[in-house]
């Protein structure tokens, strides 16, 4: 059952390369998305049997992130049907620089999307550090061609940076795996084996491994100052890919750090990891707060907001078990809203044909639904009640205050406020104002998925379903459970 979650998308990905009909491709994409979400939902009801000798299992953190992948993929698949239909075939004019460019073949795009789903699923479910590495590197490789869908030199540049920076970053995590092996010679590299023997692990090697994991997977997660690939890749890829990168992929890399923090805690060295997470978290928030100000490109703005929220996640885990609960809840909220915002940004982009925030005016009038969602997204992402992110950001603030980390709390609030001001100026300017053109009719496939995601975010702010709350609690508990 667990294996089918990985193998079915992978097999569909292979099949997609052979399919010529674009209608069939879009149906395949949605069908796999539907299959994936049904099986993931089933895993919440009945925990599936571990596979491959316990290397693949749906534990609490894995299941949370897997569900996010699943929900966002289905949203992106439905959105993709309308998106791909609207993409003209053949050569066309690049609206930024006037050069001619064409799209990559649709079969390749859909195939890579499905591989991307398979590899992210594998990353979420693997409880073996070696296997996790293999899956995470595979997510980079399967998503790189997605960024280069519009074949012009800017997306090529973004793809190259993404490939190289993330591959090098992840290579460091591989070195971290070796350090982990040196910490406990002869021990198996799966989570359960390491947790059971945590007291025997050599502390110096283990700390070295955590540092390398933090730098390696942190690069892919977008923690500053290792985030440099992120704004380029997010702004140049098609919007549904940006939504998946930001909402699903970044979490998967975070999972790698969480898993090792769990081992570190079991070895009685939780504080070492937590201090580093607080530093990297605040740094990411600070960098994002600076770059969001006056950001002219609205997709880049969303990308920097992702850097900020990854900082919030790292910071939350650094602030103890209450903070870790907040961080996991925030991961859920952030994924849902950020994916929604990227999808809406795609709608705005395809009507206005510009990524410059200054040239988009009156979105509320021209795109009534997308404009409204754009505004709602601003409120949701900046943590305004009644949206879910308010709750999670508040929990993290409270954790900082309860720990007596007043300075951390102050910086946290300042950065949040700075990002809010920076984003609000841009977003309000785009949504309001007079528009010189007539209202645009929006297709349901491109408004329905973001609307559903917005509703989810609102619901999460009002009520957290009991199974989710339990899984979040379990995660927060196991990640920081002290031993030894």
């Amino acid at each position: 059952m667990i294996l089918s979650l990985i193998l079915v998308p992978a097999a569909a990905g292979v099949a997609a390369f052979l399919i010529r009909s674009s209608l069939l491709l879009r149906v395949l994409l949605a069908a796999v998305g539907l299959f994936h979400i049904i099986f993931t939902a089933k895993a919440w009801l009945i925990r599936p049997q571990p596979a491959l000798g316990g290397w693949l299992a749906a534990d609490a953190p894995g299941l949370i992130f897997l569900s996010l992948v699943s929900v966002l993929f289905l949203a992106a698949a439905v959105y993709g049907a309308g998106y791909l239909k609207g993409e003209p075939s053949g050569e066309r004019m690049d609206f930024e620089e006037g050069d001619l460019f064409s799209n990559a073949p649709e079969a390749r795009f859909v195939g890579c999307l499905l591989f991307f789903l398979a590899t992210m699923t594998a990353a979420c479910l693997s409880r073996h550090f070696g296997l996790f590495w293999v899956a995470t590197e595979a997510t980079t490789l399967s998503s790189a061609p997605l960024i280069f869908f519009h074949r012009h030199h800017r997306s090529l540049e973004a793809t190259w940076k993404y490939l190289l920076i993330c591959s090098v970053g992840i290579a460091l995590a591989l070195l971290g795996n070796s350090f982990l092996a040196a910490a406990g010679p002869g021990l198996p590299m799966d989570l359960d084996g390491l947790l059971a023997q945590a007291a025997r692990l050599n502390r110096t090697w283990l700390k070295g491994a955590f540092l390398l994991f933090l730098i390696g997977y942190g690069t892919k997660m977008g923690l500053a100052p290792l985030h440099t690939w992120l704004p380029d890749a997010h702004s140049e890829s098609p919007s549904l890919v940006s939504a998946l990168l930001s909402g699903a992929l970044l979490n998967c890399s975070f999972l790698g750090i969480l898993r090792l923090q769990q081992v570190l805690s079991a070895a009685g060295e939780a504080a070492f990891g937590q201090e580093l997470l607080v530093i990297f978290g605040l740094m990411s928030m600070g960098v994002a707060a600076a770059f969001v100000q006056g950001q002219g490109d609205y997709k880049r703005m969303l990308a920097y907001s992702s850097v900020e929220h990854m900082g919030v996640l790292a910071l939350g885990v650094g602030l103890g078990s209450a903070g870790a609960f907040g961080a996991m809840l925030h991961a859920v909220n952030h994924s849902v809203i950020k994916a929604m915002l990227f999808l809406v940004a795609g709608n705005i982009l395809s009507v206005y044909k510009t990524k410059s925030a200054l040239e988009v005016r009156g979105a509320l009038r021209i795109l009534p639904l997308s404009g409204a969602l754009w505004l709602a997204g601003l409120l949701a992402i900046s943590g305004s009640p009644p949206f879910g992110a308010f709750l999670s950001e508040f929990v993290i603030l409270k954790a900082a205050l309860d720990q007596g980390q007043i300075l951390v709390a102050v910086f946290y609030l300042i950065f949040l406020a700075m990002v809010f001001v920076g984003m609000a100026t841009t977003v309000l300017g785009m949504a309001l104002g007079d528009a010189s053109r007539s209202p645009h009719k929006e297709g349901w496939s491109r408004t329905f998925p973001p609307a559903i995601l917005a509703a989810c975010s609102l619901l999460l702010g009002i009520h957290i379903p009991e199974p989710l709350r339990a899984a979040l609690k379990t995660t927060a508990h196991v990640v920081l459970q002290q031993g030894g």
């Binding site: 070696g130 595979a138 980079t140 490789l141 030199h153 070195l175 040196a182 770059f291």
Partner: protein, 214 residues
């Protein structure tokens, strides 16, 4: 037997300097290929008596990939894309070599600071591993061509591979193959990207990739 290993380690360190000082891309590819073959042989030399089938299989696949397949792929890219053969460094060759000496010293220092652990090869392999990793990094940062960046990535992977075999890490066979497959696909995808960079800009100079910034 340990003299074999020490000889191999010495060759690796020398090859790192060759990578830093070489001015022609073909030389770089050949040196990286030599490193790959050496790394493939190393576990076989160290464990020749035990004749562990799994170990031999992994060593052969790794040696084949790093020593033959990657160099052939990159060599083809070099010919087909009609890339100029000079390395065109951001940082000059002599400065690169001086930095290489510095990196080697750092590697010895890091290796001496690491606590003892069960080692498969001699402890002398650790500084060589770190120096190879640092050389790879340096090639990615300080060389102008996309192709030399990919070579840098390969050298970095070589260093990590050396580190992992010198620990004699008990990696399950499937994971080891997965890692090698990932590296293979990475080079393949980077190769495709290079092809497009070459077509878009008429040459493989990553200095041209500078449109995206804040």
């Amino acid at each position: 037997m340990s003299s074999w290993i020490e000889l191999a380690v010495l060759f690796l360190i020398l090859s790192n300097f060759a990578l830093l000082g070489a001015s022609r891309v073909t030389t770089l590819i050949q040196v990286a290929a030599g490193q790959g073959i050496l790394l493939g042989l190393l576990p076989l030399l160290a464990h020749a008596k035990q004749g562990n089938l799994r170990l031999i299989a992994v060593a052969l696949i790794a040696g084949l990939l790093k020593g033959v397949i990657f160099p052939v792929m990159l060599g083809r890219a070099l010919r087909e894309a009609n890339i100029r053969r000079e390395v065109e460094p951001f940082v000059g060759y002599s400065l690169s070599l001086i930095l290489g000496v510095f990196a080697l010293a750092c590697s010895f220092w890091i290796a001496s600071r690491l606590p003892a652990t069960a080692l498969f090869l001699s402890r002398k392999a650790l500084p060589a591993a770190f120096s190879t990793i640092l050389t790879g990094f340096f090639m990615i940062v300080a060389r102008r061509k996309a192709l030399t960046q990919v070579l840098g990535y390969l050298v970095l992977e070589n260093g990590i591979y050396l580190f992992s075999i010198s620990l004699g890490q008990k990696i399950p066979f499937a994971v080891e193959l997965g890692v090698l497959l990932d590296v293979f696909v990475a080079v393949f995808v980077m190769g495709i990207a290079m092809f497009h960079i070459n077509r878009e800009f008429d040459h493989l100079d990553v200095g041209q990739l500078s449109a995206l910034k804040d």
